[in-house]
Symmetry: D2
Subunit: 307 residues, 4 copies
């Protein structure tokens, strides 16, 4: 047989689980999309179709729902740790489990004023509106010995309406771009950060707090950087997270430059003083880089998009 | 010629315009997606290809950008009124203009603490994060005499984790559904409401305030209704807007019932006490209705989706 | 109560049903997405939440699957007729049923050559690849007496690389467009056509043949029209269907002008002789019109898009 | 500075270029979406914002369009080779270029019969309909010395309506799945294959023919494999390509198991003999693996999706 099997993995993707927790009349929601991916001693199923080592993907789905009851969902990361540990330790042929999770945030619906003629505020501790801004992501990998947790976010769209320039670049035969001394800088943040927690013997990070803080630092670094290039802003965003969060060793950022072009209004006898922009779809600049704590080996794959 | 031309309209769709307004160092954003649709004396261009009556769609695009400078964008509705009036009054062959607008909301990025080592808060009055919840919509139609303004929103996802029942329904040969006395009720609100402002002689509504209030009433009515069916909730949402906002005469709502199915955990020896749900994609219930101020003729088309 | 209920409808949307029919070893697929929408005596469920007249949407879903077995799926239209008739005639409170269907076409995978070393061609009469071009649509409405069938297609993307011009149009203060004497004309066809079959007493059209022929005429009219405007092309497409298919009385077309802009290569010392184009996303022209058999009343709603 | 820069890359993504080639009256289309990604001596732009080494992404866009004229587009791969070579050899700070391309296929619109009353067939050698099945992909990487070309496809949806089983798998506490001896097997093929061409000194593959053949082998292997698991089918697909195409050394496949569940019709007194299926959206099994020519090192990244 002149061909051989290389890396392989399988599981059930996109298990949509919603967990309601009741604290008296006050309800709490966790809303996740969980994907399970398992690897191990799986040559035979590829070569001959024998499923003797294969835990069905349907079973991995069932496990997600059962664990939501058995362990609750304290955080996406903690939930993924429970799942990954289970698959690797309970099934001999499975040597590695990777759990990927998307989390959708919900906030409470603000209720009527106290003197409302409608049902009172104490009745609506179970009403939510989906927050809708970024999607939080988490990837938990376990090989029976070491853990890797990579948390992140995507679709967080931000804009600075000034404090961005772009000039002093290389010019070749195909360069027509005019230098810009005051432009809009907008991007849709896609970030992943890797924790230096790798062993059950180490103290666990506070996943919820760490996420909230990393998100805050990304936003603030974007807002507070006077930008000469999107690369510079990216580096500030990544290093701000690492400098502020000792539990994080590596950040990978993928930042599309969502171009806002100043519209030429001169043909209509109007002057456009950085007021009216055309928000373009495609093409867009795409700036991607890893920022690392000094001395650390990078582990987050470089490609977070197919484009 | 055995065929004739019926209703027709044309224009440039999805003009993405971003307007920055400067109030000293503080910037404000309006971020719109504007679609222009014109009708009138357009038989010839269909029958023979003569463009003698056709203002190019490219010109309608230019007009959107020029008007963002000339008139500013006070509100989506006011901007649409400027555009619709222009096309109908400046071009003899155009008898009717309809402007459709989507608006994307942005909020300011919270800045660093006062004692931050980074750039101070007063530097970041130009930094924004896209709000990401619902998309606001507006449709402004003018025929040279009368105005019709229909405002709305879409993609506002809400959930009640209790206070919803469904029972006492018709059962036929194909009915297998079990009655539910405590279920999740979730939907993605798609709403349109029509203003009773129709004439330049009447006092204009405060479009921004009216939108904020209508949105609030939709959310609160959803949260505060103890629901025996999604139809009942829908009617409460629509009538709350009309009862609270005298400027609105008609509301059309399209509410998908985003099913959250209680997962059967008994095979695993677990009891699911309304805790763990599977969030399904398709199929979904789809509940649609118009709510009207008594005595008013409906005008909003009944189909807001193709499904 | 100062508000009243207007038009309302409900049902289960997007029931994905796949039907395999076996003709000996040769299998046939029908792959549909069926949405049910029912109207009638439904005031109470909106006003009080009483479900006494409500056949659950879950039951309408079950009916779709049961009917796929009981009646088979000869065509989307015929399947919709069975469903609509059932709901209106079997449930007294239901006065009107509308069934909307999307159909996805599949073609057979071409098998190995006769002298293949692999499994023979007669083994693969059950292997298919999704055709992927247009989505076929059908809407069947029944009020207990009269039928309305509107068939259509969407997402059929076509291009003429020449034989299109655009000039002689109105020029106003905001016009900057240059006239074009040889341009690309591309669009994504969204069409609906209404049949004049309305009564069980009339002879049924051959739905499958009629669809194939209407589709062919749309494509050929697009290809064979030397176009001075997209409106002219649209009218040719619609009238070709009506002139060629006596069972069709009305066609509504929504044609986005998918702009392909000639790239200016002069800055690079190159001449672009209608060779290199930028395919733009937004904005786009949007041309919409109805074409009618002379003497016929239009019934297809004018808005097939929200933009 | 406690943080350092890791891998980084930048460029213009999603340049939509359409190239028309005229062969007398007969036109040919190439329709690509080209993304450029450059790496090299780029520390400064990240650390200080100096753009002294940065060729603007706008210039990379211009180069795509200029090269479509200068070199034509013989194949996606050949076009990517021209671009990658240019960036690496013409700009000293750029050490590596990666070009990613999506290609959309078009076919000719069949014209009227010879005795048509419309314009003759020889007039419509410039009319096309987008094929719409799979998207072809190509990734070309050059570091100044070695080439890597990875071609592929995505969104090719296939189904076997029989000849698929699934049984004999591991059963644990969470397993409820029933064994299946005749099921539908459907997937949406996402494939990438790597060529062993790496040097300008080696003979180039015939890219167009190689693509057509690899696609054919993927389809036929899917159709002709009697499947005991999707893993087995995957391996057959990958090894068929390698065994049939000596220019390919490695194939990576990502195959979602698009579940078609047999609908339980017994509550309605009906028997479902593998006829009526519910096509589910989420969750889905996800099977991924690499197939290699024996002795070859894998290079295609294992994750082709974020889930």
């Amino acid at each position: 047989m002149p061909t051989i099997l290389g890396q392989n993995q399988y599981g059930k993707a996109e298990n949509r689980v919603v967990k309601i927790t009741r604290d008296g009349d006050t309800h709490h929601i966790k809303d996740l999309n969980v994907s399970v991916s398992l690897s191990g001693d799986m040559d035979e199923v590829h070569y001959s179709g024998s499923n003797a080592n294969v835990l069905p993907t349907d079973t991995t789905k069932n496990t997600v729902y059962a664990f939501a009851k058995e362990y609750g969902i304290e955080s996406a990361e903690q939930f993924g740790i429970h799942l990954a540990r289970h698959f690797v330790t309970s099934q001999e042929p499975i040597h590695r489990a990777r759990i990927r999770i998307e989390e959708y945030a919900w906030e409470r619906i603000e209720t009527s004023d106290a003197n409302s003629k409608f049902i009172g505020a104490d009745e609506v501790k179970h009403s939510f509106v989906r927050q809708g801004q970024e999607v939080r992501t988490a990837q938990i990998t376990f090989d029976g010995e070491n853990w890797e947790v990579v948390t992140g976010l995507k679709d967080l769209t931000v804009m600075n309406s000034t404090n961005s320039e772009f000039w002093g670049y290389v010019k070749d035969r195909y360069t027509t771009l005019q230098e810009a001394y005051d432009r809009i800088l907008a991007t849709q943040v896609h970030a992943r950060w890797r924790y230096n927690w790798t062993s059950d013997e180490d103290r666990l990070p506070n996943w919820e707090k760490s996420y909230a803080q990393a998100r805050k630092h990304l936003l603030q670094a974007f807002a507070e950087t006077y930008s000469l290039s999107l690369q510079q802003t990216l580096y500030q965003m990544g290093s701000r997270v690492i400098n502020s969060r000792s539990e994080v060793d590596e950040v990978r950022l993928s930042l599309p430059n969502k171009h806002h072009f100043l519209v030429d209004l001169e043909p209509f006898g109007l002057k456009n003083e950085n007021e009216v922009y055309f928000a373009a779809d495609r093409p867009y600049g795409l700036i991607e880089a890893t920022v690392l704590r000094d001395g650390v080996e990078p582990r987050i794959p470089v490609d977070m998009t197919n484009l």
